[in-house]
Symmetry: C2
Subunit: 184 residues, 2 copies
Amino acid sequence: MERKTGKECTADQQLPALGIGPYLELMDKTAVQDADRKSIRMGLVMLWLSDNILDVMDVDLAPFGITESKLDMLLLLMLHDGRELVTPSAIADRLGIRRASVTALLDWLEKRGWVSREQSARDRRMIHVRITPEGRALVDQVLPTFWSTCASLLDDLDAEERKVFEKILSKLHQSIEKKVGVGR
Amino acid sequence: MERKTGKECTADQQLPALGIGPYLELMDKTAVQDADRKSIRMGLVMLWLSDNILDVMDVDLAPFGITESKLDMLLLLMLHDGRELVTPSAIADRLGIRRASVTALLDWLEKRGWVSREQSARDRRMIHVRITPEGRALVDQVLPTFWSTCASLLDDLDAEERKVFEKILSKLHQSIEKKVGVGR
DNA sequence: CCAAATAGTTAGATTATCTAACTATGACTA
DNA sequence: TAGTCATAGTTAGATAATCTAACTATTTGG
């Protein structure tokens, strides 16, 4: 909980946010019903973990010159390649972002030659987006790291813990899906 | 796993990223050792949860016109108020961000009257940052929501599950702390 | 045939970061 | 004490990932 002081931070990367300590301290001062304390404490850890897990992935992907959002898009294209024609609108739907954001992402990926755009002949408003061989090569290169980073999140859990955690995770998944799903 | 299609997304808020489904599909196509599959799958869920947990908190804080980063800073100031003089450098250290970023955050908070800056008399290079009564009022107003959002993350877990999850969380906490701690 | 819907882009904004360079100021040393 | 070095904070300028609103084609349906 205590931050190491001393040596100056020289990182050239994004660093995670405030630890949990200060929050716990504040919670103890705040009038919170005793029964809730444990849940809150666990929620705080989950929040902290969330920040830092994303950070770990960011850092691991960085050497490949790609971010999670962009990898998401490439994977999506890879998955549909050959099978279906993918349009920016469809991508926006799938990724849950706006069409304008997709345009920006595609511009970036296209500039690097990882995706290509082609106007549809049937409906000239539409664009077909495809991953290029270079894009595919990049993904092939990144995936092993991606998988191993995913798996490494559980490194310190033993077999028994993994077993129970699996069930808990799936409950949490559903639970959060319900929450974020509201209003859509 | 499957996205609801149909109704157009009309949200005026940030939406979470690609679900897990596409990743699982890709994993199955990729040459991954069978033993790892389960860990990877769980890691993927953790990644998804991370994105979405932060999102839930963002959404819950939004009505107060504040974000987690800014709340972090206010809480830090609140905690030290009266006890210690807090400088931007110290804040940067505590939050793990650069001094320049602290300047930006403070500018924003100061503009709204939630913090104040005052030059130190003893060392005129230094600035003392304080939370204002208005800032304190804001925090008092936000905290109940913050706590309840934290606690609500565990809503769907029963007593038994919470008990085991607590241990798992603390292991994960340590484990990730070790990872992000490397190189600092 | 024309109005309305749809697809994609552009323009401009926000949030949260970063690095590098700059301005004071203080501290130590020759 | 003058000169150099270190420290504190800010500024300037960049990037990433988003958003909204307005715009341009193009298609569709009455």
